[in-house]
């Protein structure tokens, strides 16, 4: 079939050549029988160009044949030289109306297995088993990470994506005990170097019904010994109807904007005060299950509801016995769940609207409800609200320039009981609240400047004196350079305003952090 086509093309071209050849030979013969030298010269040139044309066409046919044979037997390779296809268009088209196209309009070297022509029923659409045999990308079906590591070279033939992220910081501070000042477990925790977050992330499609994700964090403590955290490990459905999705395992709770994300995606070198003190130094995460539903309305709206055990240090304000058996000064009751209300419930709703082609806002409200360990029947409620505004240039290169404003506020009602066997003198109710607000300005490709304000109000108590319960505020500025999306260098300055207290030496603290990070392998796609 292909061969036939080339032959037809070639003979068509020859026909034109013939017509052109005949024309000049006949026309000068009538008015002027004695051909001048110039006429002969013109004729010679024309004949020569026609000969060249025929040669090129022959060459082209040969090459095309060779190429198509090669295509049939060999793996796809593009011809190195693009010449042959172009050569054919040389002479200006003759007036003959039926002239076949001279510029090639097909190219089997680039379109490999073009689908067969469709018939009226459309039944020839390749619906057979493309999902099994497709070489295009069978592993990235809805997966959240990109480009897997390939051990054997090009291609996308792994069952899972693997990545490693190493994040380190160099810190200096006017406060000797940086670990008392910084509220997040992955924040810089000592003067000098810290390696608080090196993580291995795995993800991929489990089968046609589920996808899986695991995130294992290796953390160097201040004495440089390695600690391991199973930060996340969960499976989630991929093909439930009605916009539903169910997730199960160990995972970060969808509370606000910072809590569900991994530290290396944060825009500052440390956690906001309100996150560290109300949700906990490790964020709110744990074992449980979650269902989410994208609401069928004309704007983006999602409802999320999770049920968790809510126990241990990663459920900081809930059934958390505390590191030393004490929490907020009370000896804790490390108790089993005795009723449904001892579990942790985390609902969230988020909505997003486009203000214009370049501006988007996202507003969310979250809650976390459960029991705590300071009494036999004490409870905690946390409410949160968050707002994200983003502008991105319509001519963005690499995602820059942009402006992003993000704010989160939280309120916590904490029923502090009298501890184990009523050993603490009083029961109290703490009403704590706080917020942060940050603006990031990506002013040039790879460069982001940021400023953040933090405020945390902890209910004052005459009875409870705990370094975790200090009202405080902070202002931070930073500059981040992303040489590529796989590496990051960040310089940050913090100024902390503290209450007078026994835990920290001074009331104003200045700190400077230099953070550096690298990513190997898959890189998480950017969520909004």
């Amino acid at each position: 079939m292909k061969k036939f086509m080339f032959v037809a093309l070639a003979s068509g071209a020859l026909a034109i050549a013939g017509a052109k050849g005949a024309e000049p030979a006949a026309s000068p013969a009538v008015p002027n029988p004695a051909a001048s030298a110039a006429d002969v010269e013109a004729l010679r040139q024309q004949v020569q160009s026609l000969t060249e044309l025929v040669q090129t066409l022959q060459k082209q046919v040969k090459e095309q044949q060779a190429a198509s044979e090669k295509n049939n037997s060999n793996p796809p390779v593009l011809p190195q030289s693009p010449e042959p296809e172009i050569a054919a268009a040389a002479p200006s088209p003759s007036p003959a109306a039926s002239a076949p196209p001279l510029f090639p309009t097909t190219d089997n070297a680039v379109v490999t297995n073009a689908p067969p022509p469709v018939n009226a029923n459309g039944t020839l659409f390749p619906t057979t088993d493309a999902s099994v045999t497709s070489t295009v990308s069978s592993t990235d079906t809805g997966s959240s990470l990109t480009q897997p590591i390939t051990l054997t070279g090009g291609g996308n033939k792994n069952y899972m994506n693997i990545s490693f992220d190493g994040m380190f910081a160099l810190a200096t501070s006017s406060e000797r005990h940086l670990d008392r000042l910084e509220v997040g477990d992955h924040d810089p925790q000592q003067r000098g170097f810290s390696g608080r977050n090196a993580e291995i992330a795995l993800d991929g499609a489990v089968d046609p019904y589920f996808e899986g994700f695991a995130n294992i964090v290796l953390k160097l403590d201040n004495n440089n010994s390695t600690q391991i955290e199973l930060e996340e490990a969960f499976m989630q459905t991929t093909s439930l109807p009605y916009g539903l999705q169910v997730k199960g395992g160990q995972f970060f709770d969808a509370f606000g904007r910072v809590n569900p994300t991994h530290p290396h995606t944060w825009e500052f070198a440390d956690s906001p005060l309100v996150n560290g003190r109300l949700l906990g130094p490790d964020g709110l995460r744990g074992v449980g299950a979650q269902i989410s539903w994208t609401v069928p309305v004309p704007w983006y709206s999602q409802v999320i509801f999770a049920v968790k055990n809510g126990r241990g240090g990663t459920a900081f304000s809930f059934r958390n016995p505390g590191d030393t058996g004490f929490f907020y000064g009370r000896m804790t009751i490390d108790r089993e769940a005795s009723a449904l209300r001892d579990l942790l419930f985390v609902p969230r709703i988020e909505n997003s609207f486009n203000l214009s082609d370049t501006q988007t806002i996202l507003v969310g409200a979250s809650g976390a409800f459960g029991s705590n360990d300071t009494g036999p029947n004490t409870h905690t409620q946390i409410y949160g609200a968050d707002l994200l505004y983003k502008w991105k240039s319509p001519r963005a290169e690499g995602g820059f320039p942009f402006v992003k404003w993000q704010t989160e506020a939280m309120y916590r009602r904490f029923e502090a009981g009298r501890g184990l066997d009523d050993t603490f003198p009083v029961a109290e109710i703490f009403r704590d609240w706080g917020f942060y607000s940050q603006v990031l300005w990506g002013f040039k490709k790879g460069w982001v400047a940021g400023v953040r304000g933090d405020y945390l109000h902890m209910d004052h108590s005459l009875f409870t004196d705990d370094d975790m319960r200090q009202t405080r505020s902070r202002i931070s500025v930073n500059l981040t350079w992303y040489p590529t999306e796989f590496s990051k260098l960040r310089l940050q300055y913090n100024h902390d305003f503290l209450e007078e207290n026994a835990f920290l030496a001074s009331r104003d603290v200045d700190s400077v952090f230099f953070q550096f990070e690298f990513i190997l392998g898959a890189h998480g796609a950017h969520k909004f």
Binding site: T105, V110, V118, D140, G142, S143, T146, G154, G155, A525
Partner: protein, 299 residues
Amino acid sequence: MKKSLLILSVICATAFAAQAKLNVVATLPDFGSVAREIGGDKVDVTVMAKPTEDPHFVDARPSFVVQLRTADVLIDGGAELELGWLPPLLQNARNPKIEIGKPGRVQASQGIRLMNVPTNVTRAAGDVHALGNPHFMADPIIAKAVAQHIAQSYSAIDAANAAFYDANYKKFEATINAKLQEWGAALLPFKSQTIVAYHDSWPYFGHRFGLNIDIFLEPKPGIPPSPSHLVEVIAQMKAKNVKAIIVEPYHDRKIAEKAASATGAKVVAFSQFPGGIPDTETYVKLIDKLVASLAAALK
């Protein structure tokens, strides 16, 4: 109560409207243009990326989730160009109709032999796509194959209008075939000339029309031009008598102008996407404009 009834009826109305026409979402404007040509008034096409922005880094705006959730057809490149933003959107959209392998999913690169497939992937070489160069729509012959793929997808989902889609495809094919004669002739005088591009987006265009678009202002894909690299490029440009530098809307034109003024070359505004530069609303008009402005610069 009245309000909720109203909302309900609005939802129903939009549902019916969606049934009347195929709801098509295209990740990039070039796919969108072809999707409109084939679908005519039987489809509603929404495009995610703006024609003027860098297609590698599009914000995964939540409104895209809404579009994907109700899509009958999704057209994406399938060659990792949208990998930085499409996966989380699809994860949130939860629409089985547009899963890979379903007739509602057109991965444009399927059946296309991609150029410059790296034999060894290392990020030391910059932002290299493991599957090959994904900017394949700049070759009109490839665009025809993608158009056919799209027509087949439409026909499989909306069998009643299969003949209509097929006719539109044939029309598109005929237009491209005729136009290729024009384009080929216009660029023929410049065969084998070297052209500088900001980013390696044009190997398919170069291959089709016999141009060598193989010197780049970026030292490596995705890495911003450095002064030392620019010196090198200018020397190469002088040696090869380069007359044109191709710049896309989101690139830093000043850098190209610096190289141009040092060599006497012209800066040519190019776009991979219809609408990225003026008077290029459709795919055919875009290639028209690219060919015309390049030919003018090379003269």
